[in-house]
Symmetry: C2
Subunit: 352 residues, 2 copies
């Protein structure tokens, strides 16, 4: 059912640019969907070309998990990734953090008039590759175009769904005093990579974003220990590790005590943060997770994480405590103790 024969010329992905017609719902929009999005994301639901996607029934008793993220990162291409891959990883990870296996994504694009089609194609191809790698299908989408100066190149909102097995509950309010806090690897790379590019800084050792889909890692973790022993999973994106841990203490009504020396940070990230006046604890990650687990499974869970490519530098970084103030505190390298508060200002705008 190609519409190509209706057109004199295929889309010019070398020198062409987005114009208002690409968002008008007529012929140009249909052509863009067919020659770019449907081709890159190729799957049966999308091929149907309806207003929505029909997807298989879940296994009996499985609940639905749904998560959404708008992506407005600037610049659109950064060391280690781009907004296309990021928009898949961000939402896949949100579904995975609920303990579900992400399966399907919806993607909506807000494009700025004049944006080069060659760059759009690069982003969409990257998005398709990220989805394939994560094992999810982009099954439905929408494209809108805004006038030059009313957007910023490309914004992508993605929504993910997946199935949650019966009886599983992994949530921010499940942490209990005595539980152990693990992190899946070194923190701060994503934010530092993006900011370095913005500030045109170069470091001796390149810093690349850690953007990655974590559903493979979470599946391995959940298979390794008894149901119920993983209490919380969360990816420390905007606001960084510090903000994520404060969300957990607030939701669970507990405290957390961190061991600063145990928190893994690459030396070049530490150096860059010093130069940029940033605290790695507040810098966004896009391929890391925090796990709170029962103390008796911590060793098994940590070993499982370290065996996975996305968890090879996993570490035990703290414990959950009883604390009516719900503080996150940290034992510093020098043996002192300080409160690690929420991010209160804007450390890094448009980081995801």
């Amino acid at each position: 059912m190609s519409i190509k024969k209706d057109y004199l010329r295929p889309i010019d992905f070398k020198t062409g640019r987005i114009d208002m017609n690409h968002g008008a719902g007529g012929r140009a929009a249909a052509q863009l969907i067919e020659e770019l999005f449907a081709r890159a994301f190729e799957n049966p639901a999308l091929r149907e070309g309806n207003d929505g996607a029909v997807l298989p029934a879940p296994p009996p008793g499985h609940r639905l998990v749904m998560a959404t993220d708008a992506h407005v990162i600037s610049p659109l291409f950064f060391p280690g990734g781009d907004i296309g891959a990021l928009s898949v990883h961000g939402t896949v990870n949100d579904v995975a953090m609920m303990g579900a296996q992400p399966l399907y994504l919806a993607a909506s694009f807000i494009l700025e008039e004049g944006y080069p089609l060659a760059d759009l194609k690069r982003l969409v191809d990257s998005m398709a590759a990220a989805a394939r790698e994560a094992g999810v299908a982009i099954v439905t989408g929408d494209t809108k175009v805004v006038e030059q100066g009313k957007g910023d190149g490309v914004f992508i909102s993605t929504t993910g769904v997946g199935w949650l097995p019966p009886g599983r509950r992994i949530a921010g309010d499940q942490a209990q005093p005595g539980d152990v806090v693990l992190v899946s690897g070194t923190i701060g790379e994503h934010g530092v990579a993006v900011l370095s590019l913005r500030e045109s800084l170069e470091f001796e050792t390149a810093i690349t974003s850690d953007t990655a889909a974590l559903n493979g890692l979470t599946a391995a973790m959940l298979a390794a220990v008894p149901e119920g022993s993983v209490r919380v999973l969360r990816d420390p994106t905007r606001g960084g590790l510090a903000t994520t841990l404060n969300e957990i203490t607030r939701q669970s009504g507990v405290g957390i005590t961190l061991d600063e020396a145990a928190i893994p940070v690459l030396p070049q990230v530490e150096a860059a943060c010093e130069l940029l006046g940033l605290d790695p604890l507040y810098v966004a990650n896009e391929g890391k997770l925090v796990a709170v687990c029962a103390p008796d499974v911590a060793d098994t869970l940590l070993a499982t994480m370290r065996e996975h490519p996305n968890g090879h530098a996993a570490a035990r970084i703290g414990v959950v405590t009883e604390d009516p103030h719900r503080f996150v505190q940290m034992t510093t390298r020098f043996g002192g103790r300080r409160v690690v508060d929420w991010l209160s200002g804007e450390q890094l705008p448009r980081i995801c």
Copy 2:
């Protein structure tokens, strides 16, 4: 688990404005979510405050339907609605057009720095009211902020899911020669209402957008006739009735012949279109649907539609024909015949 006690002042919804901190994932973002979004959209899944929502398992054998829409309409408030209500209706309708009952929405907001919080609150309250009226819950969301001049007030992407009963197939490729084409009411109001406002035109009789959720109407229609006799449901939004019918003829490999005299258009819309140089066939609707059905159920379906508030002006407007060219043709009021082509330019930018 209020975080209000952590703040000196509640958000100023009278004179305050969006600033970059509201998108940073820290304290200000959490406060905006708690005091605006969570309060307006109030439901158990959202109250949990996790990265995603956990939703009940579907009835056995039911498949998942998923649809998404980005909304970039300008201006944000228009006669008969606003971007908040529109963003609910648009996605609810896409799910309903697949024959599913929409149940849950995810919403992602891209806000421009400096946007008045009072206006944002109005939009969000309108969105919440539209969701309540449509019987759907906004269960998860995301908020990002871009610098002044990098957005245009508010963009809202919504994704909807619902359950599709076993055996039901309603899709653009199901139209068969001999089928009847129905429309649920007068066409063109939404586009004309928005454009009139943009052009500061005033008409003797006010024209308001038809924006509405159609899931009640589709449920009534599907309950009234045997499974399989409703072949296609589609809402003629961007590109209007003409473009929607062309999509159907392309997908189904058929032709459609319309009867111009039977297509309902309000006289004031007709007059406005003449003045504005628009053809109502190409003007966007946001509360209308096209149904293609088996000929033997057409009368029953039409009567059912006319009994529903959103279908009181429903009409039989054409028939499906055999046509290898897949043309939409129209018998004009003067007895002539012309091809009704796809929308090929940009008739109305940023209409939804």
